[in-house]
């Protein structure tokens, strides 16, 4: 026991001495919270558009003023030639062109029907779609204003409620994802690299010839990162509660417990990588390739899993972060209890067991 303690102390000293890495480890989640919380939105706002008004009558002017009054659009300028449209798109300064054909108001009043053309830069399809929707809504609004007084028969209206996240912020989606990402980063990359480093520098040999049991060597390597990860997780939670105002709806002890489970899963994974690689560069590439990217991709926090091809959906099941992400989302945002996440917890538990056994088996006390 005393051996273990003094060994853990040595490892802590190693970790705490490297100030720059430590700074990054704690700085990364903070910066990401700020970026995700305040800089990134999926909302489309202030899209620059061009209006090509060949009609210049009351109707077109009124619609234009409605468009420029909305938050979604910013009218860049008004032009008249087709060629300028293409040029502006190619320069990438505008997202959309709104064209009123000549005689717009005339058509509307006398033929009861007029056309508006919308040209969108669909190289970004979702933005194009969203903007077209917004613009149609504004035009429909105008049309309804024209038709006021005459109410349509058989009207079906829809009342929509956005659950969990009424303002459609990105935060709800990403805080759980960020937890998974940062814990993964600390546990897998840091453990893998720090153990391989001892191999590369030759100090591993010294540890192996010492009377310490291999299990103690491993434990003491792993425990500092466990502590660091828990601290990091708590920081993320505190920031998200106090800075982003995202409350934790479910039980906090349960959340912490599940986090520790996930941390142990990641640590055993880092251990396995360190057993299988020989140089720090290789360990880094494997953990980035093998863990970080899959975590970002397949946990479902950046990209919806159900949109992926079936093969990738199947692959996503072996990524631990996916299950952890579901757990955090359920506890934090939906406020559910253990009864609805026991399945995910068991899966994580089994993964941990398999990974630990595999890495212990791979652990060689003798050098090749």
């Amino acid at each position: 026991m005393k051996q273990l303690l003094s060994f853990i102390k040595k490892e802590f000293a190693h970790v705490l001495r490297d100030r720059k890495t430590l700074l990054i480890l704690f700085g990364l989640p903070i910066v990401q919270i700020i970026i995700f919380g305040f800089a990134l939105t999926n909302e489309v706002k202030n899209a620059k558009i061009i209006v090509m008004d060949e009609a210049k009558d009351i109707a077109s002017q009124e619609i234009i003023s409605k468009v420029s009054a909305s938050n979604y659009f910013e009218i860049e300028k008004s032009i008249l030639s087709q060629q300028q449209i293409e040029e502006s798109f190619k320069k990438g300064i505008i997202k959309m062109v709104l064209v009123f054909p000549s005689g717009f108001n005339n058509d509307l009043m006398h033929m009861q029907k007029a056309q508006v053309q919308v040209i969108a830069d669909a190289s970004d399809p979702n933005t194009a779609n969203t903007l077209t929707n917004y613009l149609s809504a504004i035009i429909m609004d105008y049309q309804q204003m024209l038709n006021k007084g005459t109410s349509l028969p058989y009207r079906i209206t829809t009342e929509t409620r956005m659950l969990y996240n009424p303002q459609l912020k990105g935060v709800q989606n990403f805080v759980p994802g960020l937890m998974a990402l940062v814990l993964m980063l600390v546990c897998v990359m840091m453990t893998a690299i720090s153990i391989v480093k001892e191999k590369e520098l030759g100090t591993m040999e010294i540890l192996l010839v010492s009377p310490l049991k291999p299990i103690i060597v491993i434990l003491s390597k792993v425990i500092p990162y466990l502590v660091l990860s828990v601290v990091n997780g708590v920081i993320i939670l505190l920031l998200s509660v106090f800075l982003l105002g995202l409350p934790i709806r479910g039980s906090i002890p349960l959340l912490l417990l599940e986090s520790v489970l996930f941390i142990i899963t990641s640590l055993s994974l880092g251990l396995l990588i360190s057993m299988a690689t020989e140089t720090q560069q290789a360990a880094m590439l494997v953990s980035v390739m093998g863990m970080l990217l899959p975590t970002m991709l397949f946990s479902g926090f950046m990209f919806p899993i159900e949109n992926m091809p079936l093969l990738l959906q199947v692959i996503s099941n072996v990524v631990p972060a996916k299950w952890y992400y579901i757990i955090v989302k359920s506890i934090m945002i939906k406020g559910l209890g253990f009864s609805s996440i026991w399945k995910e917890s068991i899966i994580l538990g089994i993964m941990t067991l398999v990974l630990t056994v595999a890495s212990l088996k791979k652990f060689k006390i003798r050098l090749a």
Binding site: T21, I24, G27, L28, Q32, I35, F36, F38, A39, L40, T41, N42, E43, V44, F89, K90, K91, G92, Q112, K113, Q115, Q117, V118, D121, A122, S123, D124, N126, A128, N133, L135, M140, L146, N147, Y154, R155, I156, T157, T158, T160, R161, M162, N165, P166, L168, Q172, N173, I193, S194, Q280, M284, L285, L293, L297, F303, E306, M308, P309, L312, S340
Partner: protein, 372 residues
């Protein structure tokens, strides 16, 4: 010049000798370029819908079949109570529930007006927003059809209507991959350049071989150029591989000039490698260098406009993105590949990135000292 030649020879030898790293440099981008766009798909479809039908009328059935026929929605459940449907949302089996009130059809005829209710799981904001908009559009459509079915005579529309015709340029089929692939290629070039160059000099520091170089008459800039040029060439090789994958796997043919792309990437690479070198000169261990590089690349990627549009960011964040090299390459890649923009359209990008290259490399050279 001769010194540089020998240094280059040394660097290339080191790169080619380490087969596993070389394979990773060349194979990783291909695999990522194939997997990432498949996974990074924001196209919203296959939304799981749960219907709570209290009405069971012909009208409600028609509405339902219209919704499922749209292709955006999959019927995940058909329950008789709101609570059951809500359970499905809690378990993530459904994203959206639509409640049709009792007597929907009858009351619609009697009162001329009826209200439907939808609740959307909005944890994922985009999906909720677009999914809700799709559903409302379908209901509106259904409403219009129903009106023209139920009202016999007025063939001519009495009320003035404005028709919006939308045309989607540069990507008429609204293919999301067309948007993602060039951006991801830009990302890969950046990541490889930044990570490798940042770890390279530190490795010599850590192993101790840098002392040997420091005592030779090799000049600072010779040494750094020797480090830089091999990765610069590798970056262009990665671009070539990437463009081939883009062409033959995704069938995306760049609209603009390929030469222009190479020209831009060549300048851009200098900036990225400069960043890597700079990190390298500030770090003592590979682990440190990697984490610092990771930190910056992560922020650059998030703020680069790959996944979320820069225009929607608040003012301060938009100012920050001006100092983000990744922003420029993602922009240029998309502009040249998708829209066929020419040199005059991207000359500002060129100048900015060139400036980055000079500042970062100059800083790295100043900061690298041969004596410790």
């Amino acid at each position: 010049m001769r010194t540089l030649k020998f240094l280059l020879q040394k660097e290339f030898l080191q790169i080619f000798r380490n087969k596993s790293i070389l394979v990773m440099i060349l194979v990783m981008p291909v695999i990522q370029l194939i997997i990432l766009p498949l996974a990074a798909n924001y196209e919203v479809k296959n939304i799981n819908l749960c219907v709570v039908d209290h009405d069971h009328s012909r009208a409600s059935q028609e509405l339902l079949s219209k919704i499922t026929a749209s292709g955006y929605f999959k019927l995940a459940g058909y329950t008789s109570s709101y609570d059951e449907a809500f359970k499905l949302i809690e378990m993530d089996r459904a994203d959206l529930l639509l409640e049709i009130p009792q007597g929907f059809e009858g009351k619609l005829i009697r009162f001329n007006e009826q209200k439907l209710f939808t609740a959307i799981n909005a944890i994922n904001g985009i999906k909720a927003g677009l999914g809700g908009a799709y559903l409302i559009n379908i209901i509106k459509d259904y409403n219009t059809n129903l009106r023209s079915d139920w009202i016999q005579h007025p063939r001519v529309n009495q009320l003035p209507t404005i028709e919006v015709t939308a045309s989607n340029w540069f990507n008429p089929l609204m293919n999301y991959r067309l948007f993602m692939v060039p951006g991801i290629l830009a990302l890969l070039i950046t990541m490889i350049g930044a990570f490798l160059s940042s770890m390279n000099i530190v490795r010599e520091k850590e192993i101790g071989t840098i002392e040997q170089i420091n005592v030779t008459p090799i000049k600072k800039y010779h040494f750094l150029m020797g480090k830089l040029i091999p990765f610069w060439i590798l970056g262009l090789v990665v671009l070539t591989i990437g463009l081939l994958v883009t062409r033959f796997v995704y069938g995306i043919i760049p609209q603009g000039s390929i030469l222009l792309l190479y020209g831009f990437v060549a300048v851009y690479q200098l900036a990225v490698l400069g960043l890597g070198l700079l990190i390298s000169t500030y770090s003592d261990t590979q682990q440190q260098a990697m984490f610092v590089a990771f930190f910056f690349i992560m922020i650059f990627i998030l703020m680069g406009g790959l996944f979320t549009s820069i225009d929607s960011m608040p003012e301060w964040a938009q100012v920050v993105t001006r100092f983000n090299p990744i922003r420029y390459i993602i922009d240029v890649m998309r502009m040249v590949v998708l829209k066929g923009s020419g040199f005059s359209d991207i000359r500002v990008h060129f100048a900015t990135v060139f400036l980055f290259a000079i500042v970062l490399n100059g800083w790295a050279i100043l900061n690298y000292s041969k004596t410790s």
